[in-house]
């Protein structure tokens, strides 16, 4: 019997910021102020570099509290169209400003934990999908893809209008804040689980980073 290798991204992983309505609306009042001066008109994107890729079950070293980023990643097939989806925990260090690129906050080693298996999109209903987030076994968040600012395929189309998503590239749909507008934070010693109907779940721990 052949052992099945855990899924890992083969291509470049892109993330979308402010793509959940609750967080977008919370930011809306300050979007016209400096340094932003205007709301974003195009999707706000970032790259999760390969050093961030971590496997299901990993213990991720963190220098302090991290923001948990439960999200769904769409995976590009051979023709550059999305064919599969996978659960991901897109971790970042909390940052107050969205003005400058977030490399130091989002691109740390291990900051993208990947579920072990992807699922064909044909088996999923993205519009109603909800991702349950548990910390130390307690349900702390439900991310509702019905509340995306740009629905999954609209986001895909808008992004691929200027950069082709190559086979194996991943586009993450965005992560949400809590109902009170605060980020979902977790700390070393805690255990995080993501699950959603029809998708392979993922679990990982956070541990203290040694200086």
């Amino acid at each position: 019997m052949k052992a099945k290798l855990a899924w890992q991204p083969r291509g470049t992983v892109y993330g979308a910021l402010l793509n959940l309505r609750r967080e977008f609306e919370q930011w809306a009042p300050q979007m016209h102020e400096a340094p932003y001066k205007a709301p974003p008109s195009a999707p706000v994107l970032y790259v999760k570099t390969a050093n961030t890729f971590a496997a299901d079950g990993a213990a991720i070293p963190v220098p302090g509290p991290v923001r948990v980023g439960a999200t769904l990643g769409l995976i590009a097939g051979a023709a550059g169209e999305p064919t599969h989806a996978v659960l991901l925990d897109d971790l970042c260090l909390p940052h107050e400003s969205y003005f400058r690129p977030p490399i130091r906050y989002r691109n740390r080693d291990g900051f993208l934990v990947c579920a072990p298996q992807s699922t064909p999109l044909a088996q999923l209903t993205l519009q109603t999908l909800q991702i349950a987030v548990r910390i130390n076994g307690a349900l702390v968040q439900s991310v509702d893809l019905a509340t995306l600012v740009r629905p999954a395929l609209d986001l895909w189309a808008e992004v691929s209008a200027f950069m082709t998503l190559q086979p194996g590239d991943v586009l993450m749909l965005g992560s949400d804040c809590l109902p009170d507008g605060k980020p979902l934070l977790a700390a070393a010693g805690e255990h995080i689980e993501l699950s959603a109907p029809g998708l392979a779940p993922l679990a990982h721990a956070l541990v203290e980073e040694h200086a």
């Binding site: 890992q8 991204p9 083969r10 291509g11 470049t12 992983v13 892109y14 910021l17 402010l18 340094p35 932003y36 001066k37 205007a38 974003p40 008109s41 195009a42 706000v44 994107l45 970032y46 790259v47 570099t49 390969a50 050093n51 961030t52 890729f53 969205y98 003005f99 400058r100 690129p101 977030p102 490399i103 130091r104 691109n107 740390r108 080693d109 200027f162 950069m163 082709t164 998503l165 190559q166 590239d169």
Partner: protein
Amino acid sequence: MKHARIAWGGAIHEAIEAGGALELRTPALRGRRLSFDEVVWLPPLAPTPRARTILALGLNYADHARELAFKPPEEPLAFAKGSGSLTGHRGFTLRPEGVRHMHYECELAVVIGREARKVRKDDAYDFIAGYTVANDYAIRDYLENWYRPNLRVKNRDTCTPIGPWLVDAGDVPDPMALRLSTHVDGQLTQQGSTADMVFDVPTLVEHFTSFMTLYPGDLILTGTPDGVVDCPVGSQVVCSIEGLGSLENTIVGKNPIQPIPVKR
């Protein structure tokens, strides 16, 4: 040694520069020489097992920071790019219709040679495989103040020419003292020296590897000096770095029927 990656004769080949020609390294054809004009130049980078990390610097030359009305940053201002935007020497870069300001950025590109994690500045050069020239085009019309410079400005298909050569680090005695220049249609439009970087290469390697591991083949595009100008369709843009070579690129429009101009 100068390494190239080319398409020729129905396949992709590694080649080296030898006597003003390209010498193939492919076992079956090893030693065969080709002229620069008879091949298609690809980015001079071997494939990586996972996505290549590409980090690019903004405002890393004090004069360019002033040109764009910023004071130089206190820590490196870096953004990440996907490898889908890379294209080779003598390639074509698309200028979208209706754009008012699209400019080149001639940059020293550093190619990582071995796994680099928590590297100290003094050891940084041990982790570098070599250097090449990158042209990190930007379309300023699309600038927005969210994770700026945003990907729509900086991560477009065809918009990051790189090459022609990967020059071994051992053949570049002082990467922090190289003259850079850009010519558009034969006119000198940009010049500077890598000596004027705000954060030099060892500092950048130390900074990035303090929180992220870099792997062989990963790239750092180190920013561009003063002197960027708008490049209309048809522009022949040549970015040169002393000792590394000249990276040629042509700006083309969207019209797929229009023949692509090749002035050589």
